[in-house]
Homo-oligomer: 144 residues x 2
DNA sequence: ATGGACCTTCCCATCATGGCAAGGTCAAGC
DNA sequence: GCTTGACCTTGCCATGATGGGAAGGTCCAT
């Protein structure tokens, strides 16, 4: 099976398949006499594994580990650890976004939203200590 | 005030200040006779506004709009709309991440996490329809 | 044998950010 | 005055995951 077919079959674009190969996430596939990549069932299976892992939001690095564990049929302990690490990452990200969201929503709710130029949102962004909720309204100065 | 001082003062790196200037998010600053950028109170205020907006997770595009509205002291209506749009974006992202997180947590909880090679996480990633919860366990194939 | 659909490699672009290099400037100390 | 070190300038390169496109080779059906 050529790369186009494999792409259609697994939901991973041909471009990405080549990319994953180039960063050694995937092994070099067999080639036809004329140099075409050829994929078999095992390769397709692996590609789907990678796509699903991406869907789960795993990083490339994590996927590489998971893939290795999967192929080597290694103990589930290691896999669980990676998964739980990712869960913790997700929790952190979710919490951060939720805080931002609530702060912003609060500001928007306080904004009369009419033609008047005063706006608590802009005031908060400009750093004017204004409302009593300021200490909560200013998001953490994450070093991003 | 030179760029280094401005950077230290506002939490926006010198590199980023120049970048924001290059994409016209910020106006070209005054220059000293020798070509050094010079920043005053107004500029610092603007830089802090941008940094805070980034902290809130606004996109560059949104920040450009907010900045314009802020400087022109335009009606709060427009600002509120941008903020609420961003809140909606955050809500969506939070929901997506939460779903991923819960699915993954569920899989990890089902994983005995010992030396045995069987692992529901890997099985789910490899696409094996295995548990009754599969239809919920497979994350949406988001076209990412 | 010709045309179209596919494949190959290579380069470029994204976006926000950092790093590095070569060269100019400024201020402090000798 | 001259040196030195800290700062500034511009410009290029790199990131990570992805897409776009060009130039050229291959395969298959008509």
């Amino acid at each position: 099976m050529n790369i186009g077919q494999a792409a259609e079959n697994t939901g991973v674009s041909a471009k990405m398949i080549r990319y994953y190969e180039s960063i050694a996430l995937l092994p070099d596939p067999k080639r036809s006499a004329s140099g075409y990549r050829e994929y078999g069932d095992v390769d397709l299976h692996r590609l789907r594994f990678v796509r699903r892992s991406r869907d789960f939001g795993f990083s490339m690095e994590q996927i590489a580990k998971l893939l290795k564990l999967w192929e080597q049929k290694r103990p589930s302990h290691d896999v669980k650890e990676i998964a739980l690490t990712h869960v913790a990452e997700l929790d952190e990200k979710i919490q951060h976004l939720t805080e931002l969201r609530n702060t912003l929503k609060h500001l928007a709710d306080c904004c009369h939203g009419d033609h008047r130029p005063e706006c608590p949102i802009l005031q908060s962004l400009s750093g004017k200590p204004q409302t009593a909720t300021r200490s909560q309204a200013i998001p953490p100065t994450t070093s991003r």
